[in-house]
Each structure stands twice: as structure tokens, then as C-alpha cells.
Symmetry: C2
């Protein structure tokens, strides 16, 4: 089976690049002396999740991911978005089935309801506290004694147990490597401080968890951190390449498309991958490597074709032209020619698909995998 | 069943608003004296498609939509993205099953393969030519004789039959009402010219089709046009409100979410609707009504809450604060409180969901509908 046999648009994964990306991050975690807890939110796929976990655990961004990865055989799971009473029964049910599931909290507001759900299911829900090392996302502030108050509130509830702290260095996505290293060090020291304060208050701190692919790649040391959570490294994308977290040649996930019409008088052609097939993510716009809605590759080799990119999208159409304004030779792009589009943000682009097609170095299709979306 | 019984995030549709939007566009088409061919790409839902078609036809952006709407009982269909040889067998199969399916072409490059697929299926594929009235999307230019050449090429193939012309006034999305009216008139006159030229060349022109919700809403006359294609009007969104194509109170589709944590020191709280639940669409950024990633409503009434909006997103989190910087009273937003988010672009946001939940004026859940995604 070849790429010509697949419908378009489709999401294809270059397995050699995927394996190289996985190996690189495993080596990186070993250098840093920390456990790697890969984030399952990028692939949302049982087989890739198992490959990423490599006998260890996974991180998830939804309870659906946790359920699916547990069903696939991964028991050590961390649902890294704040748990609420409305979702606690579902988390507790997964623990009751045998999952070694950890959940996240940073606000005492939901603790009562969460504890009730745990007790109703006859289980103990283990919680990590999210620490706000910066203003990027959520987390409890280290100013004042909010941290100790939250830990004490958790400890006061039967059915809940505090097991660690975490932070998310997502701000590293907007930084140069040297700045990302500084951000990683700030998060590391913040996490170590938080864990020390909680240990001093009598809490066990088994897990000190830090995340985001670029921050982990650029960190000088993660002393005191027990595990890192990274996801996008498996697929990589144009944004990660733009900020120096990978090379364009590392990008493992791309969208197979075909030329559907040409407008030589506008120096462009049209492909059947638009806003839904590529996503509306424009993260590269904030970098020096603005790639519109994606860069164009040869379908079989995966090599960039000149500086072609998707300039604009409608729901199902992408308009392709040259970043530099070079004149396209339309004879190179007949109607029906297959191409691949490298995405700005793999997490967003992959979400449009319910399946992945696997290809090898020669562009041969070697298999297919189911992807699960939703919540 | 109430909104409190639904999981979050979910996509909910206010049926009273949906019905009012449908009625308004039916009335608009009657004033203009044209047939309304609603676009099924917005709902991608059999029941809503049937309601929109109201015994008439639908437009689709994918062959999957055409197949699903045909299975639901809509026979008169127009797949309004350029057909290619690789997709022609699937289109021909639908015609062979009895669908009154029309397809689109604007480049002669694929005609040979398309005609072969039609003949192999023993059917005639009826085609409309897309005319490039402007540079917004695709279409054949009216300069020179490309139009007549394409029509002659279609007529020369057994298995193909030319039945009309169409254009898409998508550029109206970036225009003020008076400018959108001028754009509609330019498209109208271009379509009428194209149809007259093709009639003069001996081709039957049964369909002269024009599209985009804002262009149709603002058109002064569509004399010579036989049908209009509009989709977003059914759901509406913040972008349509920003360009004057609807009021915020007309927006029928929204994302149900819950508060998952609060950061009073940052004057914001966190909801469980992020980049996947809302999409990364930032179309309102180009208007005077930039709404970030969406505006916040009361879950039950659907009324805007102050000037709260989703400022930034992670994959599964949205950070909510005030557009004007007003101080939030966190007591109003306890963990677990349900809210709704009005989307920037309904087509993109709805695509994250495999189901819709229907609600009435009181916020009571009255039913659920399946949505189909993919291609």
C-alpha cells in the first residue's frame, strides 16, 4: 500500500522519525537523571501511548485519555488538569478498576466534592498540587501560606492523599533556548522550594513533576525533580522547529493532501487541506519562521518543496504559494498530485483525525492506528 | 435533564435561536427571490441538515457530508469543493445510488480521470464551474477564454455534463456591510456574465449559485442568480456578530464548560475549555470586537457575563478574565460553576465534538444529536 492509496486529507506518521524522537527524549531524561512521563495528549492513541510509556507511566490531559491508556495496559497515569467534583467519580472509578491514577488540584474549592466521590467509590484519590511558578497557566501561588493551607485541606479529607507537586513550563514555548533554560531553572527551584515546605509541614512528596518539551530539552539541571512530562516531542511540528526544540527533519506527523486546482495568474494552487484538516493554529506567526498554516513537502520523501506554504485556508481548502514570492512552475503541481503539509502545532492538527496512517522512509504505508478524540 | 447533567466540555445548541436563524435566512432568500441551498458544513448533522433543507437541497464541503445527508433523506446535493479523479469514484457511487449530486470544477487538469470514474460507474456527473470573481479562493478567471475552454472540455467528455456556474464571496467575512453589498454585486454581475458567455457558447446554465452568509445578508439584489449557499447563519458566532451579520443574542452554538480553578492574584479563573474545545480560531482579532478565544455566558440564560472572555488557552484549559481589566469577584465563580463560551468561529469549534446537546430557552436539555467529522 502506498500514499496514493490513502484518502485525502489524512494524517500520516513517519515511524522512523517518531522512533528517533522517542529515543532522543529518553536519552535526554537519562542525562537529566529524571523519570520520563510522556504526555499522551499528543498522540491520543493506544499503541503509540504504549510505545511512549515503554513500561513506565503516562501523563494525560483528559480522563478519556486516562481510561483509554489504562485499557491499553498503562497503569501509572497522571491526569494533569485540575480535577473537579463533577469529574471525580469518573477518576475514582478508574482507580477502583486498578489504575495507579494521580490527579491534580490547585484550588481548595472542589476538595469536599472530590473527597465525597472518592469515598463513595471506596478508593483513595492521590493528588498532586500544581504550583504557579509563573503566570502562564494555573497553580497555587507560593506567596503567603496558600500552599500549606491547600495541603492541609487535602490531608484533612478521608479519601484524599497528597503525593507531590508539579508545574508546567508552557511559557518556554515563546522563548529562545537560553531563556527556556532560565525558565526551567526557575520552575525547578520553585518546585524544590514547594516540596521542601510541604515536607516540613509533614507531607510526603514522592513526586516532583515538571513539564513542557522545550523547557526539558534546554534545562541545565533538574536536581530535586523526580519526573518530566513531555508530549509534543513525539510528533514535533513547525513551531517546535521555529523555537529550536527540533529540526524540521524531525517532524514525524504531517497531513497528506492533493492538488485540487491551480491559479497560475495568482501564482498559487489549491489543496484539499484547509482549516479543519490543518487547524487554525498560527503559533509560528509569533516566531521568525512564520509558516502560515503549514509548509509543503513532497509526499513520498517528506522533503520540503522550496519555500511553499499554506498562505490561507477556507474550511476545506488551502491556498499554496511561495513564502518569498518565487514564481511556481504549475507543471510541477498537476491536479491530483499528492503532497504533505507539516503542521504548525501537531496537537491541534492531529485532533481533526480519527486515525493515523504509518509510513516508512520510502513513503510506503505500513499500517494504521486509531486515534481517540473528545473527553 | 439539565445542563448540570452534561459532561464538560460539551457543545450545546439553543434550539430557539437556531430556529430563528433558519427562519431569518429563509425570509432573506425570499426577499431576494432566490432558492436557499443551506450549507451542511456548519452542522454536519443529519437532523439539522434535514431541518435546514426543509424539503429542498443542501450544499456540502466534503463527500462524507454528501453521503450522510443523502442517507438522511436529502437528495439534492452540491459538493462545493473542486472534484478530483481520486474522489470521483466516490461521487459517482453516490449518484449511482440515486443522489441528485452536483460537483464542482475549475481546472481542466482532472477532467479525464473524473470522466473515466463516471463512465465506470455508469452515471453522468453533473458539474458546476467555479468562477473567480475575486482572489479570495479558487475558480477560473474570466480573462481570456479559459471559461469557454473549460466548458468545452467538460462537454467533450462522455459521463460529464455542465449544469451551471458558482462563486464564493468569502471575502465578505472581512468587510463592513456596505462593502459586503458591493462585493455581492460584483459577484452577481460576474456570475451573470459567466452564465451569459456559456449560454452563448451553447451550454445549458440551470444553476447560477452564489455563497457566503454575510454577502447574501447584505446583497441589494441577486438578479440572475438562481440560488444562494449559506451555512454559518444557522449557528452564528462572535465573528459574524463582529462584522454585523448577526447579533450576539443570535448565537445558537456554545461550549458548556466549568470553572476548574481560580487565581485571584492574577484576576482570572480557569475553565476546562481550551484550544481543542474552542479551536484556535482567532478571526475576531481582525475586527473591532476581539474576543480572544470566546466570550463567557451564564450557562442557563446564555446572557453575557460582563466582559469576561477567554484570554489564552492551553490544550485543555482556558484562562478567563475581563476584557476591560475590571476586577472579578471570585465568589461569583466557584470551582464547578458551569458557564458557556460563545465561539469565534462556529464551524471550527463544533468540529471538536461528536455530538450536540439541544437546550431550550430555560437551559433545559431537550435532546442530543450526532455530529459527523472527518472526510
Amino acid at each position: 500500500m502506498t500514499l496514493d492509496d490513502l484518502p485525502t486529507p489524512s494524517f500520516v506518521i513517519d515511524t522512523a522519525r517518531l522512533e528517533a524522537n522517542i529515543a532522543r527524549m529518553i536519552a535526554r531524561a537519562q542525562v537529566l537523571g529524571v523519570s520520563l512521563r510522556p504526555h499522551g495528549k499528543t498522540p491520543k492513541c493506544a499503541e503509540i501511548g504504549l510505545r511512549l510509556a515503554a513500561g513506565g507511566g503516562l501523563c494525560t490531559s483528559t480522563l478519556l485519555e486516562a481510561e483509554r491508556y489504562f485499557a491499553a495496559g498503562v497503569a501509572d497515569l497522571f491526569y494533569a488538569v485540575a480535577l473537579t467534583p463533577a469529574k471525580a467519580a469518573r477518576a475514582a472509578a478508574l482507580v477502583a478498576k486498578g489504575a495507579d491514577l494521580k490527579c491534580l488540584i490547585d484550588d481548595p474549592g472542589g476538595l469536599q466534592g472530590i473527597a465525597e466521590a472518592a469515598r463513595a467509590a471506596g478508593v483513595t484519590l492521590r493528588l498532586l498540587i500544581e504550583v504557579a511558578a509563573d503566570d502562564y497557566r494555573s497553580g497555587v501561588t507560593l506567596n503567603g501560606d496558600s500552599l500549606e493551607q491547600l495541603a492541609a485541606a487535602i490531608a484533612a479529607h478521608d479519601g484524599l492523599r497528597l503525593v507531590g507537586v508539579m508545574s508546567y513550563g508552557g511559557a518556554s514555548y515563546g522563548l529562545r533556548p537560553s531563556e527556556a533554560a532560565a525558565l526551567a531553572e526557575h520552575h525547578r527551584s520553585t518546585l524544590v522550594t514547594a516540596a521542601a515546605r510541604l515536607r516540613a509541614a509533614g507531607h510526603e512528596m514522592r513526586i516532583v513533576s515538571f513539564g513542557s518539551t522545550p523547557a526539558v530539552l534546554h534545562a541545565k539541571t533538574l536536581s530535586g525533580v523526580t519526573e518530566v512530562r513531555c508530549g509534543i516531542y513525539a510528533f514535533q511540528d513547525l513551531f517546535q522547529a521555529a523555537i529550536g526544540a527540533c529540526e524540521i527533519g524531525d517532524i514525524a506527523g504531517s497531513v497528506l493532501t492533493e492538488v485540487i486546482s491551480r491559479q497560475p495568474w495568482n501564482n498559487r494552487f489549491v489543496i484539499d487541506a484547509g482549516g479543519l484538516a490543518l487547524s487554525k493554529d498560527r503559533s509560528t506567526a509569533a516566531t521568525k519562521c512564520d509558516a502560515g498554516f503549514g509548509r509543503i513537502c513532497d509526499a513520498e520523501t517528506g522533503a520540503l518543496i522550496g519555500d511553499l506554504y499554506v498562505q490561507t485556508t477556507s474550511q476545506e481548502l488551502g491556498l499554496v504559494t511561495s513564502l518569498s514570492g518565487a514564481t511556481l512552475d504549475m507543471a510541477d503541481f498537476p491536479v491530483g498530485r499528492r503532497l504533505r503539509v507539516l503542521p504548525n502545532h501537531a496537537d491541534m492538527t492531529a485532533a481533526a483525525y480519527s486515525a493515523y496512517h504509518l509510513i516508512n522512509d520510502d513513503g510506503a504505508v505500513t499500517g494504521g492506528l486509531e486515534r481517540f478524540n473528545g473527553w
